[in-house]
Amino acid sequence: MFHSPSTVLPTLQVKGLGVNYLTRSRGFWARPRPISALDNISFDVRPGETLGLVGESGSGKTTAGRAILRRIEAASGQIIFKGTDITNLRGEKLRRLRSGMQLVLQDPYASLNPRMRILDAVAEPLIVHGLVKSPEAARDQVVELLDLVGLPADAATRFPHAFSGGQRQRIGIARALALKPDLVVADEPVSALDVSVRAQVVNLMQRLQEQLKLSYVFIAHDLSIVRHISHRVAILYAGRMVEIADRDSIYDRPRHPYTEALLSAVPVANPALQRKRERIACQGEVPDIANPRPGCRFASRCPLVTELCRGESPPLIEVASGHSVACWHRS
């Protein structure tokens, strides 16, 4: 298990992060109104640590990833990267900051420009940030990066169509690592890949983390992969964090009813075990975050729901060392 002394400065600290999207409600002339996509999210990521960010569609996990990288503006809260508050950085400072934190995207088929050779695609960030002085130097660095992710040097001269999904994801990782970032946000990096190729990319990410002491924010909905790669795991539901803990405590001793339901819903590849497993039902409607009701967002589907839950949203409370839950009945 992963232990890092608490005196170490976290790579990333997120405090009370909130993100709003503007939407037009009914009618052409209606004024846009804000929808809270992410509400009061807080977590730390330490050097060399992976935080798994889990949630279903609409939970805000991708929004959180983008907001950390300052690709989306935060409506509230603070993002602190290596001790510096970056929430309101602008212009040149923001540009320079980008080299320290990079993004790996889900779809390796859509995220590479089909008309750029791999050399140009991977060298682009190096050129933009002025880190290479000559084409030769760029080529050398690209070959080095490709080697790091397990691709041959001659890959540099080819176009994306020549590569399979797994290889393209390696290229995406090489491009993200070009600027030697401290933090990589990986948004569903293996969901689009076939099962037998997934393991290749997961293993690669783990090896690179160890070699380069990278911090990852690993966004995914596949709970088995998240358990495998993460040190700590945060569960999001409808824009709020419902539980965060060390990997093993969240999987072995989930506290929040949603976490329990989620874990019990994952099918396991063991017929005898899978047939015996009891699923914790969560019926009811998924909440509409455009028209939020007061109280806990999970109240409409929760088996433990009471009047308190419908009236007031539960705060995130630490129930054991490093294990926090937002539930009136479980904290």
């Binding site: 279903e56 569609s57 397990g150 399979s164 797994g166 290889q167 076939d194 099962v195 037998s196 190729v197 997934r198 393991a199 290749q200 997961v202 293993n203 690669l204 783990q206 090896r207 160890e210 909905h221 709970l223 088995s224 992969i225 358990r227 495998h228 990997r247 093993d248 999987y251 339901a261 989620l262 874990l263 019990s264 819903a265 994952v266 099918p267 396991v268 590849a269 063991n270 017929p271 005898a272 075990l273 899978q274 047939r275 497993r277 699923r279 969560c282 019926q283 998924v286």
Partner: protein
């Protein structure tokens, strides 16, 4: 098994013409489905699992052609000119299909009630009112709230899970004996997936439905299926009882697939990674298609292996049952463990 045989797929071969050459999407696929049985068809993209199901459902159209083998429903062929006519009465009625993407498989311009009733009006000769009444019952049966209100709603008013329930209601409307479910839960969230799988399981018990469940998720197969067929590069490489295959996989590919999937219980071991990727199906080399990625392949494997019995399963491998992925073999170099 003495149960009635519903569907037999016999050495089926489907080719697709493409500019790059003839794609041999499936070659030599044989399957049998008995009454009330659930068969899992597992494979990666391009393995031919969907093409096999589409062939059964009669959905192969140009540039694809069935170039060999036979598909029989209760002993009678569904192919050829005579088979076509028989097939029209069977498909949609006895054989129904649901697809991966409930967002695109419903007609956005038709109300739920009209879409649901269409099959019953065509196959069962129901009147509009009869079909509407039955549609309401079916929506209730698949667990949709306020079924009467849903009849006049359009697909865009429903969520993904609700649309998949509508698809299932439509599929069971003519009381089929076989349901082909092509990745029915892949586009859905985990908690919704579990609800849909539970629904399928309960429908199977209530209606004695046989199901062919196509998926890439081994966990889904483990929960719902009694038998499983694993496909690789257009061929079935292993088939048998689900417990046997998960316990003692015979084919190196099945072994690799099971060991490269992390478990929810969690281990700190490096995942097994099957290096390389599936071969191109244009002019595939003779012999075993898995050979380039197989850790125990030999020259002998250049000769196509036959399906052979091993430990209660049927395996397409010369070395069926050999533990192909001994610890340390073919793991990622310098993986740190």
């Amino acid at each position: 098994m003495t149960r009635e045989i519903l569907l037999e797929v016999d050495h089926l071969k489907v080719d697709f013409a493409s500019r790059a050459g003839l794609v041999q999407a499936i070659s030599d696929v044989s399957l049998t489905v008995h009454k009330g049985e659930t068969l899992g068809l597992v494979g990666e993209s391009g393995s031919g699992k969907s093409v096999s199901a589409q062939a059964v459902a009669g959905l192969i159209s140009s540039p694809g052609t069935i170039t060999g083998g036979d598909i029989r429903w209760r002993g009678q062929s569904l192919l050829g000119r005579k088979g076509e006519r028989y097939a029209r009465s069977v498909r949609g009625k006895n054989i129904a299909m649901i697809f991966q993407d409930p967002m695109t498989s419903l007609n956005p311009l038709m109300t739920i009630g009209n879409q649901l009733g269409e099959g019953m009006r065509y196959h069962l000769g129901y009147s509009h009112a009869q079909a509407r009444k039955r549609a309401e019952e079916l929506l209730g049966a698949v667990g949709l709230s306020a079924p009467a209100r849903r009849l006049d709603q359009y697909p865009h008013e429903l969520s993904g899970g609700m649309r998949q329930r509508v698809m299932i209601a439509m599929a069971i409307s003519c009381e089929p004996e076989l349901l082909i479910a092509d990745e029915p839960t892949t586009a859905l969230d985990v908690t919704i997936q579990a609800q849909i799988l539970e629904l399928l399981a309960s429908l199977q018990q209530q209606l004695g439905l046989a199901i062919i469940l196509i998926t890439h998720d081994l966990g889904v197969v483990a929960g719902l299926c009694a038998r499983v067929a694993v496909m690789y590069a257009g061929r079935i490489v292993e088939t048998g009882d689900v417990d046997t295959i998960f316990e003692t996989p015979g084919h190196p590919y099945t072994q690799g697939l099971l060991r490269s999937t992390p478990s929810l219980e969690g281990t700190d071991e490096t995942l097994l990674s099957i290096e390389g990727m599936p071969p191109s199906l244009i002019n595939p080399p003779p012999g075993c298609a898995f050979l380039p990625r197989c850790p125990i392949g030999t020259d002998h494997c250049r000769k196509a292996p036959p399906m052979q019995d091993w430990n209660g399963s049927v395996v397409r491998c010369w070395k069926a049952g050999t533990n192909a992925w001994l610890p340390g073999v073919m793991l990622e170099p310098a993986a740190g463990l």
